[in-house]
Each structure stands twice: as structure tokens, then as C-alpha cells.
């Protein structure tokens, strides 16, 4: 496990080494932008639902890649922030507050606060211990949610209606909701891109490469790691806000450790340390799940070996694999 963790953190670029394909994000976001039109033309309305699901998880996965791919922090608790954001929406809604102008900031604030409090402890550990302690805090929130009897306990709670935006019930429309989620993903992506290139991001990337050197030139490494953890947590809260609203339902299962594991798989599958990879990974993972689970109940039996193949033979994930193919063929 130790070597596995080291390999994940060492993978990906996070720095100048790997040339980035500038056209790729444009292509990705263009596909997402045109998807509802395609669904309408071909009368495949379920595609909008699938696309929404992909976008919701991609938001959390991009934030996770900020930690894993650029900070070398392999968090196994990212789903906890999705859960916190989702429960913020659910609990506020049960209290009669159903406007996004309140619930979105609350979802973000709760997630960031939890990230701050637990991050102070997590950041003190390294490697496998960091993985374990983020997992432990995630499970803590999970069990807390299952014990919330007034809010459905194990069974979760249903939300009466999607959030309004300043009283405007626009998100009721699935296509409108899709584009709202799309804008959240775009904002997340642009924010993370800017962070990575900024002074802050350069220090964060430096701590991933060589923390001792960064301390020796005057940086308090843990401060930068903690801030990254809090930012990623806040974005996880956004993902939770979207998830709760898209399904109109909140349950502890949103933050089960398997969810955190799936997010890590998405990031690795697409390519660590690229941001683009987190989006591609979410899409491929969720599409494969949908397709394979239609073929057989035990779809993981097929998907598991596929993942192993990607990890073994496609270093840099699907994005790295495609980049190498392109290099080879001109």
C-alpha cells in the first residue's frame, strides 16, 4: 500500500514536465455544452440525467485532483464533503429554507469548516497515515449521518423541491439544472487552473516535489497543504449541493468510504495531476458503470480488471495514454 500511495502521488505532472494539451479542456466543455441539444435531437432524455451525474462527480473529482495531483495529498475522505454539502441542502430544506442563495454558501461553509478542523490533524501525517486518517474522519461523518434520526437516519431524507435561485424555481427544469451544474464545473475548473499557476499553487506543487527543500527556502509547508485541503473541501460541498438537488434526496450512502474510493479511481483513471483527467475519469467511470450494470449485476467484475489494466499500462491515465498515442502517430 505504501508503494501504491507513493506511486499515485508521484504520478501525474503537477509541474512543467508534462506538456498540457490546451485544446482538450475546450473539447471537453464543448461536448458538455452541446450534450442537452444532442439528447433532444436524438430523443434520449436520459442523457441529460447521466450528464448531470457526471458533472456532479467531476466537480468533486477535480477538487480531489488538486490535492492528489498537485499537493501529493491522497485524501480518502473527499466524499465526506459531498455528504456535508448534501445534508446542508437537506436539513435547510426540511427547515423550510430552499433557496440556493442560502444553501449553496452554507454547503460550502460547512464543508470548509469541517476541512479546516480535521485538516489541521490530517496534515500532520504523511503517506499511508494521511490516507487512513482522512478515511477515518470521512467515516465519522458517515456514522454521524446514519444517527441523525430526525433526518431519516440510515434511510436518508427526501427533499420536497429543488432549490430556487432568489425565489426563481428555474432548477426544476432538468436541462436548466444541467446547465447550472455545468457552470459550477466550469467555475471549479477555472478556479483550480488559476490556483495551480498562482504563487500559492506553485508553492503547493513544490511541497509535492520536495517538502524539505520548500521548508529550507522558507515556506511553512503545512500551511499551504491545509489551505489546499480546505479549498478542496469547499468544492466538495458544491458537489454535494448539486447532488442533493439533482436527486432531491440525501442519504448517508453519499459519503460512504466507497464513494471516496470511486473518486480516487476517477482521478487515476483519467490521469492524475491534469484536472482534465478528473473530468474524463468521472465520465468514463460513470458511463462504464451505467453500461456494464445494464449487462450484468456484477459489473465490477468486468470493470475491476479494466482499471488494473489502466493503472498498469496507461501511466498518466487515459489522458496520458492518448497523449502518447498522438505523439507516436505524428
Amino acid at each position: 500500500m505504501m508503494t501504491g500511495a507513493a506511486a499515485i502521488a508521484a504520478g501525474g505532472a503537477g509541474s512543467a514536465r508534462q506538456p498540457r494539451n490546451a485544446a482538450l479542456p475546450a473539447v471537453i466543455f464543448a461536448i458538455f455544452a452541446l450534450m442537452p441539444a444532442f439528447a433532444a435531437l436524438t430523443a434520449q432524455h436520459y442523457l441529460v440525467d447521466t450528464g448531470t451525474r457526471i458533472i456532479v462527480y467531476a466537480v468533486a473529482a477535480v477538487a480531489l485532483d488538486l490535492l492528489v495531483g498537485y499537493g501529493g495529498l491522497i485524501s480518502f475522505g473527499q466524499a465526506a464533503f459531498i455528504g456535508l454539502g448534501a445534508y446542508a441542502v437537506g436539513i435547510l430544506s426540511a427547515a423550510g429554507i430552499g433557496d440556493a442563495l442560502v444553501s449553496l454558501p452554507v454547503a460550502i461553509a460547512v464543508s470548509m469548516a469541517f476541512a479546516w478542523i480535521t485538516g489541521v490533524v490530517c496534515i500532520r501525517t504523511k503517506g499511508v497515515y494521511f490516507i487512513m486518517i482522512t478515511l477515518a474522519f470521512g467515516q465519522m461523518v458517515y456514522f454521524l449521518a446514519t444517527s441523525l434520526a430526525p433526518y431519516g437516519g440510515d434511510n436518508g431524507l427526501t427533499i420536497d423541491a429543488r432549490n430556487t435561485i432568489a425565489g426563481w424555481p428555474v432548477l426544476k427544469n432538468d436541462t436548466a439544472f444541467y446547465y447550472f451544474a455545468f457552470l459550477c464545473l466550469l467555475a471549479t475548473y477555472l478556479l483550480c487552473r488559476a490556483l495551480i499557476a498562482s504563487r500559492f499553487g506553485r508553492v503547493l506543487r513544490g511541497t509535492k516535489e520536495n517538502a524539505t527543500r520548500m521548508a529550507a527556502i522558507g515556506f511553512t509547508v503545512q500551511r499551504f497543504q491545509l489551505i489546499a485541503y480546505v479549498i478542496a473541501g469547499g468544492i466538495g460541498g458544491v458537489s454535494g449541493f448539486l447532488l442533493a438537488n439533482s436527486t432531491e434526496f440525501v442519504a448517508p450512502a453519499y459519503m460512504a468510504w466507497q464513494q471516496s474510493g470511486e473518486l480516487i479511481v476517477m482521478v487515476i483513471l483519467g490521469g492524475v495531476g491534469t484536472l482534465d483527467g478528473a473530468i474524463v475519469g468521472s465520465a468514463v467511470y460513470l458511463l462504464a458503470e451505467e453500461w456494464l450494470s445494464g449487462l450484468t449485476e456484477n459489473w465490477q467484475v468486468i470493470f475491476g480488471p479494466f482499471l488494473v489494466l489502466v493503472v498498469l499500462f496507461a501511466r498518466g491515465g487515459l489522458i496520458g495514454f492518448c497523449a502518447r498515442l498522438r505523439l507516436r502517430h505524428g
Binding site: A197, G206, I217
Partner: protein
Amino acid sequence: MGEPVLRIKGLCKSFGSLLVNDDVTLDVMPGEMLAVIGPNGAGKTTLINQISGLLPPDAGTIMFDGADVTALPPQARALRGLARSFQITSILPGFSVLENVALAVQARSGSSLRFFGRADREARLNPPALAALEQAGIADRAHLPAGELSHGEKRALELAIALAMQPALLLLDEPMAGIGREETERQIELLLRLKGKLTMVLVEHDMSAVFALADRISVLIRGRVLRTGLPADVRADPQVVTAYLGEQME
């Protein structure tokens, strides 16, 4: 000459039952270059690690620039002007050579809690970094990934990073280790140019470098300071010759 820049008193450090630094006491005066020499395993790197804050001493105090820094973490000492190079090259291999140095400039040029704007295009950071690279003689390598430099160039980069910190005290742990004769000569020339302008502690096995550069020499044997003095006196000390210099000068 005024107050010492660095004042180490009674420093002790053990790893398990192995006593690696035993009551080490040293002063380094402003502008001086003090060389610390001694056999492999004498505890030189351990001493440097304690001065720079990577290792906590078991006992003793470290005064830097008039203040007790014994309990300060490495980053706090770095910001006070204590820079070091590492015996085992410690750079950011995936960053460009220029960015390795620009980060050192960034650490002491305004807040790094800036989340927008591209750091690699900042006019405040790149020119000083380039100047340090020029001093170290590897400015032509500025845009190469640091991991692709030759070993000698990596040693030069270590020095450039330290210089970019505009240090009040520069700790050099074997800057000539494992590099060729020609590159060693160039490093010596560079350090000669810095001599007098910078206060330095030099750990080095290359005796031609030590005697060309040092104002004073401390000899560390099995963790203890055997002798501190002028190069000529140290060279003539029979105890030093038997313990260390004898084999080095052959």
C-alpha cells in the same frame, strides 16, 4: 569584528546510542568563512541539519544574528536569512531551473497566499532568480527541467537557490561532492568571489578547496571539535594530522 553571526554552544545530538555531536561549540564571525572538516561519519551533516533546523538538538543552543533560534522550525530560520545547500542534492526536479530559484525569491518577496495571477510571469521574481543563476554560472540552463541537469549543474543550482535567498549566513554541505576537477575549480572561483561579502560555513572533503577558501577551520572527529584555528595552525597540528589530515593529504 562585532558579534558573531552564528554562535553554537554545547550542541549535543545522539541517534539511539550513537553520539553524533558531542558538546560542539563554535562561533562564526561576520564575513568569515569557517570550514568544518572531518572524517566520514564525524557528524558534519548532522551539525548543519541542526543549525538549519531540520534536526532538533538534544542539548545546547544555537544563536543566529543575536537571537536564540534553537526552537525555531527551518522555514523561520530561512526567513531570518539562514540558507543552506544539501550534501545530497535537494531540488525540485519537475520544475524549471529558473522556477527552482524563483521560488526562493518568492519566499521573501511578499505573501505567497496569492491565489490568482501567474507566478511564473511575475516580473518581481524572475530577474533576481536569473541573476542568481548567472552568479552560479548556469543561466543558460534556466528553462530546462531541473531534473535534466548534470550532477555538477545540480550542485550549482543548489548554490543559486541559496544565493537567491540573500542569506546572512550560508551553510554549504560538500558543494564539491562528486563533481569533476574542472567544475570544482569553477565552484572554488565562485566561492572566492563571494568570500568576504557573505558569512559562510563550508563542509568539504576537498582539501584544496578548504585551504583555498577558509579563514578558519574546525576539525570534527567523532562528533567532538578537536581543534578550531587558522588554516596554517590546523595543518601543522600533529593531532589533526593523525586523526584526519594525514590520509587526506596523501
